[in-house]
């Protein structure tokens, strides 16, 4: 792996990843715990979200306030979120502070108090966040689009459901912690001004005797349908479109990424050009590749005032169909330069790199050096993209709309 990257799986199944970034003063940590929305217990969706709050309310020798004060006194910039496959904890600061903070994260993950006093509040906050979705039609749209595009349990909303949250008890959440906060499948990545021997020692000391393995995912079942309209008295009709694509590990992955860049990379992308710039139909329109382990999708969005939403949907779909006619050499060249530049610039952010190497490992079982990514982008030819687009027409589409009136579907 050379001097830049480091990968080591502990005996308990936790994988430690490192990236040394010369010139950086900071470091960033990403810790992925195998508790995502897909493995929320049946009838307890939102459990990982409640847990991700509750574990921060006291751990190890510190109560809730002492824990927060301690992390703040180190100046750690922190985040936590629940995704499809993991609960993610992040921190960034001057490098030594992040390393010092690791021990505290050991407490948070392994020895949280999960106090009774905090449970009601954590669940209440989750219910409030859920109620807020109805006030934000764009967020509501994306939640519904995931539910209707992905097979269960991959489309489950990490924020949970009102019914499940209301019946959830502290006992359930404690049992969930015991079942899912395990070393097997966990990923700890550090990027920035770090020393590999030091992080290895730290990881062994903090997580070496952590054990167990999270339960396997549930059997999948197809989503409820392909077309959904949610009626809402909104100013705009919000349109979400999704369709299946190749997984990240597929040989055609970069071919697909290039096609998506042509469709919606920069402002010269086709969707922006046709829907916004030429016709003035909307302010926001985009499509992007979205990845799960073993499968990929393309998801898109447009929002237009209600009387123009039908024209927007029609124009969006027409552009997707036009892709089968292929892309030009100039379009591909722009797509390559854009993707390479963002890859290189990601090397300026310790947080971005800590996240990227953790993602890479989860998806592919290894870290890809930046040069390998650049080479993969460069190797894609116009012929390859066009042959792919000819053989794989976009679709079948899942289309969700949020607005006052349903649209005519293509």
């Amino acid at each position: 792996m050379g001097d830049r990257y480091f990968q080591h799986t502990l005996r308990n199944g936790l994988t430690l990843l490192g990236e040394r970034m010369p010139g950086m003063v900071s470091a960033a940590m990403t810790l992925l715990v195998p508790a995502g929305s897909t493995t929320d217990p049946l009838n307890a969706s939102g459990s990982a979200t409640v847990l991700s709050d509750l574990v921060l309310r006291g751990a190890g020798s510190r109560d809730s306030r002492a824990l927060t004060d301690h992390l703040d006194s180190m100046g750690l910039r922190r985040s936590s979120s629940v995704g499809v496959q993991h609960t993610r904890f992040g921190s960034a600061a001057v490098a030594q502070r992040v390393l010092d903070g690791l021990e505290v994260y050991g407490d948070i993950i392994r020895r949280p108090h999960l106090p009774e006093s905090g449970f009601d509040a954590a669940r209440d906050l989750a219910l409030q966040a859920l109620a807020g979705i109805d006030d934000d039609p764009r967020q509501k749209l994306m939640v519904k689009l995931r539910e209707w595009h992905f097979p269960f349990p991959y489309g489950r909303n990490s924020m949970g459901t009102v019914e499940d949250l209301e019946r959830m008890t502290l006992k359930d959440v404690r049992a969930d912690h015991a079942s899912r906060y395990h070393a097997g499948g966990a990923i700890l990545s550090l990027a920035g001004n770090i020393d590999f021997n030091q992080i290895r020692e730290l990881a062994e000391r903090t997580f070496g005797d952590w054990d167990g393995k999270a339960p396997a995912s549930f059997a999948t079942r197809p989503p409820p349908g392909r077309v959904l309209h949610e009626e809402q008295k909104s100013e705009q009709t919000h349109i979400g479109i999704a369709w299946p694509s190749v997984p990240e590990t597929d040989p055609d992955y970069y071919t697909v990424r290039m096609a998506v860049e042509v469709l919606s990379g920069g402002m010269s992308g086709r969707l922006f050009t046709e829907v916004r710039e030429k016709r003035g139909l909307c302010y926001s329109v985009w499509a992007g590749y979205s990845s799960l382990k073993g499968s990929g999708s393309i998801m898109g969005y447009a929002g237009s005032s209600n009387e123009r939403a039908q024209a927007t949907l029609d124009c969006f779909i027409a552009e997707l169909h036009r892709m089968r006619e292929g892309v030009t050499a100039d379009e591909l060249e722009r797509a390559k330069i854009g993707l390479k530049a963002s890859t290189i610039m990601q090397g300026e952010s310790t947080s971005a790199r800590a996240g990227a190497i953790a993602h890479d490992f989860f998806m592919r079982g290894r870290i890809r050096p930046l040069d390998e990514i650049k080479d993969a982008i460069d190797s894609v030819s116009v012929d390859q993209v066009n042959a792919y687009l000819k053989a794989h027409e976009a679709g079948p589409f899942t289309i969700v709309t949020v607005g006052p009136k349903a649209l005519n579907m293509p």
Partner: protein
């Protein structure tokens, strides 16, 4: 991470401020103009932001297709923004594209404003306004600024209203451009990897011929009165409440203490409002912050709650503000300073963030502050400075605006 500052003024008055970071992988370039909605009169409200869009529609040499295509050909991360007081245009590119990026930015700022493009883009602006009308937080903020600043120009909406945008004529926009976009009213901010002599040469080549324009800004002192305004929208689930009170300006040395106070009282983690309102789930969000403006400034309070808990939450928040006037402790100030310092270190590593910070600072103060200076100023902030700050700015008068479902609430 040795950062070096460079400064040069071109004969036409364009200031160039640059912070060189030899470890950066990219260069960020931004042209910032000291103009925004506060420099508009009612008859052209929204013109600053609409003009920002029109800059991407081409110059005498380029069409809008060219503008978008060229940015994408150099793999730029690029965008623009408009605030009440400033409009900025920027691109982040790999160092090999420095000249093309600066040349292109210079074309952007000499717009043709063609009738046909103006009429198409008007539709996009109306869509942007519609999109924000679906965002209760934005509606609340607009009403708050309008009520708090009254007849002061900071009350002007950045986007304008559908009516003001519909009425706006192409020639009014051209006139506004001529009056406001002189090089003496701008700064070119550059950060990352570059050779400063080359930057100066390129700026002279591409921006040196821009004619000087006097673009004064009126600076009335705002007058405020305490007031409480309720807005009802029965389709909402949640109640959104903001309060605004006078604070230090962007030129005021007390602004550093104000940032620390904002962190102590209102940070999302571990602040006084967090413990008083979010930890116990009385509010989903409770934020206290600081907006420095040109010549004046504001503190604000923002709450998201169940409608039934709004009064209780507001009462607690206001009591916390009163309490803070007398009992800020050493350790909480130290924690806030550490968090802010970490943020500065992380920002210093990323050219794009640093470019915006340096450019903005120059627009307000014609002053460059190194990270070391900011750190030193920060470490000199004590509980005593916060106490003095709250004697000078007593959170009175206060404008309170609340938006929610009204009577249907429990």
């Amino acid at each position: 991470m040795p950062l070096t500052f460079h400064y040069k003024q071109l004969p036409n008055g364009l200031d160039i401020v640059a912070e060189q970071n030899p470890d950066a992988h990219s260069i960020a370039l931004g042209l910032f103009v000291k103009t925004g909605s506060r420099d508009e009169d009612q008859s052209v409200n929204g013109v600053s932001h609409f003009l920002e869009h029109m800059m991407f529609k081409g110059s005498s040499r380029y069409t809008w297709q060219d503008v978008n295509r060229i940015f994408d050909e150099i793999g730029a991360k690029y965008n623009a923004f408009t605030s009440q007081e400033m409009t900025g245009y920027y691109a982040n590119v790999l160092p090999e594209f420095t000249e093309r990026a600066l040349e292109h930015l210079s074309h952007l700022l000499r717009p043709a404003i063609r009738d046909e493009d103006f009429n198409t883009e008007k539709k996009v602006i109306l869509e942007e306004i519609a999109m924000y009308l679906d965002d209760p937080g934005h509606r609340l903020y607009e009403k708050l600024m309008d009520a708090h600043f009254g007849s002061h120009p900071l009350s002007m909406s950045i986007l304008g209203s559908p009516q003001s945008i519909q009425k706006l004529q192409r020639d009014q926009m051209a006139r506004y451009f001529q009056q406001r976009y002189g090089p003496g009213n701008m700064v070119l901010s550059v950060t990352g990897q570059f050779d400063f002599d080359q930057i100066v040469k390129l700026a002279e080549k591409y921006c040196g011929s821009w004619p000087h324009v006097d673009a004064p800004r009126v600076q009335p002192m705002p007058t405020h009165k305490s007031q409480k305004i309720g807005m009802t929208d029965e389709k909402l689930n949640r109640q959104y409440t903001m309060a605004m009170m006078p604070g230090p300006s962007a030129q005021d040395d007390r602004r550093f203490a104000a940032h620390v106070l904002a962190d102590v009282v209102g940070d999302s983690d571990g602040s006084r409002l967090y413990w008083a309102l979010v930890d116990n789930a009385i509010a989903e969000e409770a934020d206290f912050g600081f907006y420095p403006h040109d010549g004046c400034g504001s503190f604000y309070l923002a709450l998201t709650t169940d409608p039934a808990r709004t009064e209780q939450a507001l009462k607690i928040a206001l009591a916390e503000l009163e309490k803070a006037k007398n009992d800020i402790a050493d350790d909480e100030v130290e924690r806030a300073r550490n968090k802010i310092a970490s943020g500065l270190v992380l920002q210093g590593e990323i050219p794009l963030g640093r470019m915006r910070s340096i450019g903005g600072q120059w627009i307000y103060n014609r002053e460059y502050r190194s990270l070391e200076q900011d750190m030193a100023t920060l470490s000199a902030v004590t509980p005593q400075s916060l106490k003095q700050l709250m004697r000078d700015f007593t959170f009175d008068p206060m404008t309170i605006v609340s938006l929610g479902p009204g009577e249907k609430s429990k």
